[in-house]
């Protein structure tokens, strides 16, 4: 009982200094957690992807579309269960700042292939029967205050003109990793309009989504699909949904690496602050520690006192930081809106935060503990704080 009490008394002897150090740790651990969560959000699309789905796109780049006739051919490839298609729309809702993704999809096959988008049977029916109909995710609907039956005007950037959609349903995600900030509408509507405006560009789509019978066959099926269209006017590139999503992450990798590096820098900064606190504390108590040693306590015991105090302060700050991260992340997600559709603090982040706090405490105490243990009793008693 004596030892923990001594550590606590020691830790709070300089109340102001301990409080300041702790505030520093809380800020650092919170910042670390938020930055990790931003990095997680970047990978969210890839993590939510299914291993049983492939994406087929033009081998040149996503800017080029593929003829719709490919759907029939892909369906005949052994191992393929079903095929659907989607087209990026790129519309602007009121102003460029309100960005959210919109896809023109072949609704019945698409919703069957993505069971994680949960829509009530009534809304589903209403969506299918209205050719101007659209569905949006719950988060998106809440962000703009849309209700079923509302009209949503979008200004086309790729397909000119103003497009007005009727909101026929609001979907929920199967779990919190599902994107609930996307809008889907009927590809048929887009195709009709394109055919009227530019007859040559009709019956085309951006990507095909391919559902596999067995996820283990992903490699063979993608190779078979790409081989089929080799040397055609529109060669394809087929990859798993995860690889497709990760290719977007890879394009902004430089930014991602910077954020990751910065999240470690904040830990190093707070380590310097904490190490400073512990060095000062140990220096001031040189005479006390020498007294303890005179009484017969070992060098290890004195070092342990310093370590316990340092790690205790760091972990207490770390816990407060973790507690603060969750509400802050929620506030941040609300501010960013649909830029980060999936934004939550993962368990791994919390563990990393606590680990980082413990590490800060451990390293901060190392040098003072080593020095105190090494100083001879006589020198220690002679020292003046």
């Amino acid at each position: 009982m004596f030892v923990p009490l001594l550590v606590i008394k020691n830790a709070f002897r300089h109340k102001l200094r301990t409080a300041l150090t702790m505030v520093g740790i809380v800020v650092a651990i919170t910042a670390f957690g938020l930055l990790r969560t931003i990095v997680d959000a970047w990978y969210a699309g890839a993590n939510a992807s299914s291993s049983a789905r492939l994406v087929t796109r033009s081998s040149v780049s996503l800017v080029f579309s593929l003829p719709l006739t490919y759907a029939q051919k892909i369906r005949q490839v052994p191992g393929v269960q079903s095929v659907s298609w989607a087209n990026w729309f790129g519309g602007v809702y009121i102003s460029e700042r309100n960005f959210f993704p919109q896809f023109a999809v072949d609704a019945p096959t698409y919703l069957d292939m993505f069971p994680e988008f949960i829509l009530s049977p009534d809304e589903r029916k209403a969506f299918f029967t209205d050719r101007m109909g659209a569905i949006v995710g719950r988060k998106l609907a809440e962000q703009y205050g849309w209700k079923v039956g509302d009209q949503i005007p979008l200004r086309g950037t790729i397909y000119t003109g103003t497009w007005t959609f009727n909101l026929r349903g609001i979907y929920d995600g199967a779990d919190k990793g599902t994107d609930q900030s996307t809008m889907f509408f009927h590809w048929a509507l887009l195709n009709e309009t394109i055919k009227k405006l530019y007859p040559r560009r009709g019956d085309q789509t951006g990507v095909f989504m391919v559902q596999l019978r067995d996820p283990a066959q992903a490699a063979e099926v993608s190779a078979a699909i790409d081989a089929m269209f080799k040397n055609s006017l529109a060669e394809t590139l087929t990859e798993t949904e995860k690889a497709f999503q990760l290719s977007f992450v890879a394009m902004t990798e430089a930014i991602l690496l910077a954020i990751q590096a910065v999240s470690f820098v904040v830990i190093v900064i707070i380590m310097a602050v904490m190490a400073n606190t512990m060095a000062m504390t140990a220096r001031e108590r040189g005479a006390e520690y020498a007294t303890l040693k005179t009484l017969g306590f070992s060098n290890g015991f004195v070092a342990m006192l310093i370590f316990a105090e340092s790690i205790g302060i760091a972990l207490l700050g770390g816990l407060a930081g973790v507690a603060l991260t969750v509400p802050l992340a929620r506030a941040f997600a609300e501010q960013m809106g649909s830029l980060f559709p999936i934004f939550f603090v993962s368990e791994e982040t919390v563990l990393l935060q606590l680990g980082a706090a413990g590490l800060v405490g451990l390293i901060a105490a190392a040098f003072p503990a080593w020095r105190t243990a090494r100083v001879s009793i006589v020198d220690g008693l002679r020292a003046v704080g």
Binding site: L35, V63, V262, V265
Partner: protein, 388 residues
């Protein structure tokens, strides 16, 4: 009566470990702060320098970027007939009608694919962009499957160096030259013959028109003429403005993220300075008492401790800036969200950033040192002397 500066300096030097840790923490914060500002400045410089002020870019209305735009030959002809377009040495109008597409290429170091801009240019297009000069190989010959690559692309992407070939649009294209566009956005592009590109990508329409104004003051009139013509569904922008708009989102993202990170980090560093200065005051209570007894007024004590904190901040600021200045050797290549294409830019240290970083460091020292200095100045002589 003021306390000599050398006395303050000796105090800073007296406890080396503490000084090093405190200044080190500040140095890291200043480093992050300066790096982010340098990145935003580099991005801005790259894209502003990409445009020429007397050049005008014409794209389809509301299409935002060249890649999403489409301008058919009829509309291009109407624009070409405008009288305000400058005339070149050969008597031809200085207008370039360009197809612009994105292709997916793997990077040299990571093998991960990214989107690269391919631009079909005409001889006029090269005249319109005097900043681009060949640094290796030769120009592509019109009418052949030859291309030239921007410096960042040639070094960053597989198959884009001189003598190598790239396969896209069912053809093999030979890279015959590398051009340096003076660290502008064109460094991240591949150029080839416009008519060849149209055929290869089976396009009937150009993506963008670029022309030089005979009189740069006439821009507003030309813009009005293009945008009010009922036969045209186009919009015109000055080239400088066009490229600045294209990076608005990315540069905003970088500066927002960077500023909020710097502010959060600075809290940690300020706390570090505060702890150090409080300890400095506490361990020198008797000394402060003596100084007061010798006749130094309260303000001198306050100033002395503030100067000590500012010195700590300045050391941190200088160290952080020196470390950040080494970042100028690096270049960052990432996707621009708005154009969906790869863009390379460098960290650029401007005098403004130097001033801002040092001011930031001094502010951290001042905020961290003010409360402890005030405590030192408030001490009563008798109490302070007794504390020893």
């Amino acid at each position: 009566m003021t306390i000599p500066f050398s006395y303050i300096l000796r105090n800073v030097a007296a406890r080396r470990l503490t000084t090093a840790l405190t200044a080190g923490g500040m140095a890291l914060v200043v480093y992050v702060f300066a790096t982010v500002l340098m990145l935003a400045a580099g991005l801005e410089r790259t894209l502003v320098a990409t445009g020429q002020d007397d050049n005008v870019v014409v794209i389809r209305r509301a299409s935002q970027s060249e890649v999403q735009s489409g301008v058919d030959r009829v509309q291009a002809g109407i624009v070409e007939s405008l009288p305000d377009i400058a005339v070149g040495r050969d008597g031809q109008k200085l207008i370039s009608k360009e197809p612009v597409v994105l292709i997916n290429l793997p990077k040299r170091d990571s093998n991960k694919p990214s989107n690269v801009v391919i631009r079909g240019v005409t001889p006029n297009g090269l005249v319109l962009r005097p900043q681009a000069t060949l640094i290796e190989g030769r120009m592509f010959r019109p009418g052949t499957a030859e291309i030239i690559a921007g410096r960042s692309i040639a070094s960053g992407f597989q198959g884009a160096g001189v003598g190598e070939t790239l396969r896209f649009a069912s053809r093999d294209w030979t890279v015959v030259g590398v051009f340096d566009a003076g660290r502008t956005g064109f460094d991240s592009e591949i150029w080839g013959d416009a008519e060849q590109m149209l055929q290869a990508f089976r396009r009937l329409a150009f993506s963008a028109l670029v022309f030089k104004l005979a009189d740069t003051e006439r821009f507003d009139a030309v813009k009005k003429e293009i945008e009010s013509d009922p036969r045209l569904t186009l919009e015109a922008k000055r080239e400088t403005r066009f490229y600045a708009d294209q990076s608005a989102m990315l540069s905003k993202f970088i500066s927002y993220l960077g500023t909020s990170i710097s502010v959060i980090f600075s809290i940690g560093a300020i706390i570090g300075a505060m702890i150090t200065m409080y300890a400095s005051v506490a361990s020198r209570t008797a000394e402060i008492g003596t100084l007061r007894a010798l006749g130094f007024p309260r303000t001198s004590i306050l100033v002395a401790f503030l100067v000590e904190a500012l010195t700590l901040g300045l050391i941190g600021g200088v160290v952080g800036l020196v470390a950040a200045s080494f970042m100028q050797a690096l270049s960052i290549s990432t996707m621009n969200f708005q154009t969906f294409a790869e863009l390379a830019f460098t960290f650029t240290l401007t005098p403004g950033i130097v001033v801002a970083s040092l001011a930031f460091a001094l502010a951290m020292g001042f905020i961290g040192g003010f409360l402890p200095a005030a405590r030192a100045a408030r001490m009563k002589i008798v109490d302070a002397l007794r504390a020893a």
